[in-house]
Subunit: 111 residues, 2 copies
DNA sequence: GGCTCATATGTGTATTTACGCATATTAAGG
DNA sequence: CCTTAATATGCGTAAATACACATATGAGCC
């Protein structure tokens, strides 16, 4: 039997994370992170964003549970809990590249 | 050699899709879709959203290449190109459930 | 051609939000 | 204790956007 809705994802909570990830600078910050924690200043340097802005985005990422920040002296070191999220994002990017060929205003050909 | 940034995803384009997906009603619409095309009225009925709003979101989804809409008489039938995106979203939801235990304002314990 | 149904589009609005500036907090060093 | 460095926070603002209302387009029917 064929199901019209093959996959079901919980909308609540998922959209929250998607919204967080949908901000380019936030994604850049996350993307530049690994399992090895780095101080905020490193993220500022790497991204070229203002201190205020990086702190702003890091707070959002941290409160969402996407990154962790451990305190070392006056520094706060941020890193990922695990790389699972980046893997999923890589999958999404891959799917995008294969299935959504540079969307034009009219959308892909109807067929 | 250890890499601090284990995965690299293209930020541009990816954030666009993430932003589109981050809207709850849009995700609901997409989530309610399958490979079998249904008229807009069905989506309106299923979601309980206004006609204007459904049309608004469908346009965004269509222009992004995430859904296709084929015309049949006065009706326009919408459906997915493939279920890959929903699978990825299911993976994300799964990862979320396993790794982000109901984020509180302070974020998960620092470890 | 006029009528009606299905869907799209134009306009206005209220909410969200990313960002910078200024300032507060917290830690190390003299 | 005062200074300096690292990070966070309060406030104001400009831009994005989800939504409703009204209207336009387009197909089928008499």
């Amino acid at each position: 039997m064929k199901n019209t809705t093959p996959h079901r994802v919980p909308v609540k909570g998922l959209t929250t994370v998607l919204k967080i990830l949908s901000e380019p600078n936030r994604l850049r910050i996350l993307n530049g992170m690994g399992l090895e924690c780095v101080p905020v200043s490193a993220i500022i340097a790497k991204t070229g964003l203002s201190q205020t802005n990086v702190s702003f985005h890091l707070r959002i990422l941290r409160e969402a549970g996407l990154v962790k920040g451990e305190k070392r002296g006056a520094f706060i070191y941020y890193c990922l809990y695990d790389t699972g999220l980046l893997e999923i994002l890589a999958n999404l990017a891959d799917w995008l590249a294969s299935n959504v060929p540079t969307p034009n205003p009219a959308g892909p050909p109807h067929g």
